[in-house]
């Protein structure tokens, strides 16, 4: 497809979109790293918001508008709020907690570094000269995505409704304090 075009595009002459993508990407990655290392539990959730928001910007830069809005709505709007609620309900300490990391830290670091080395090597090897053409028709407007969803992906979509319902029921039944039947 657009592999041929890649040859003409060097890494040393970045386009505007690329510069924006890389900058936002660095910010996203930084926020993610802080989120998994900070000792302040609530801050971790807030840094996660930054990272997820950064990803939404990246989606926009990749012309996937619909996904970007869904990302903002679902993640930033509800998931993080849920997580914060969870932190409150489990009486997580506000402020620094010295034992935020488990004893497994070094094993975790080793596995993560090994995984990163593998994945990055493979990905760079695979895509080092692949050009992503963003100039054509919009790929991810709400209309395009919606049409493809209902034309080609009806079955998983339907199955997903069962999933959501089950998750809802499951979450309710688990978090309901024991009462009702046995009383």
């Amino acid at each position: 497809m657009s592999l041929a075009a890649a040859a003409s595009q060097g890494f040393l002459s970045p386009s505007g979109v690329e510069i924006a993508f890389v900058l936002v990407g660095i910010a996203t990655l930084g926020a993610a790293v802080v989120s998994v290392t900070t000792k302040q539990l609530v801050h971790a959730a807030l840094w996660l918001v930054v990272a997820l928001g950064g990803l939404a910007v990246e989606y926009l830069l990749l012309t996937a508008e619909f996904i970007a809005w869904v990302q903002v709505l679902i993640y930033v709007g509800s998931v993080v709020v849920l997580l914060l609620f969870g932190l409150m309900l489990t009486k997580a300490p506000i402020g620094r907690s010295p034992d935020a990391d488990s004893g497994n830290r070094w094993a975790a670091l080793a596995v993560a570094v090994a995984a990163a080395a593998t994945l990055v090597t493979v990905v760079i090897d695979a895509f080092r000269s692949t050009w992503l053409d963003l100039d054509g028709a919009v790929q991810g407007s709400a209309e395009v995505t919606g049409i493809s969803l209902f034309r080609h992906w009806v079955l998983p979509f339907e199955a997903l409704s069962v999933l959501l319902l089950a998750a809802l029921v499951g979450a309710i039944v688990l978090s309901r304090i024991n009462r009702g039947r046995e009383r």
Binding site: L29, S35, L48, L62, Y75, L82, A92, A108, L132
Partner: protein, 127 residues
């Protein structure tokens, strides 16, 4: 845009999430890290979808599904964490070792008894 940028970003984000899953003690923070891993995958899918100019938009569709799945998982995961917290007063994953099958005899009886007392207390509460 070079496809390498989103792909490498996704790979790195995935591994950051992976580190968090393995290193965090509070289970809610572990959940957050899982979210990072899933989001990394989403970035991958969107980038590939755009690059491939997929007529079916499989990548974006799967991204939407993944977001939904992630939301559902967070919901049920949080309720499980709350349940654990209610039962033991902690949400630290590395303290959940009651189920380990001890090599030495005796300690498992203790956990068994503990379980029975919980059940009994439950029964009394019900009565």
């Amino acid at each position: 845009m070079h496809l390498v940028y989103p792909a490498v970003l996704a790979a790195l984000l995935f591994c950051v999430g992976l580190y968090g899953v393995l290193a965090r003690r509070n289970s809610i923070l572990v959940l957050m890290s899982v979210e990072l891993m899933l989001n990394a995958v989403n970035l991958n899918l969107v980038a590939f979808d755009v690059w491939l100019r997929d007529a079916l938009h499989g990548g974006q569709a799967l991204t939407l599904f993944t977001i939904t799945i992630a939301a559902a998982e967070i919901g049920i995961g949080l309720s499980i964490v709350l349940l654990v917290f209610r039962n033991r007063g902690t949400a630290d994953v590395d303290r959940l070792t009651d189920l380990v099958d001890s090599l030495a005899h005796g300690t498992d009886n203790a956990s068994d008894d503990g379980r029975d007392t919980v059940r009994n207390a439950d029964g009394k509460a019900a009565a």
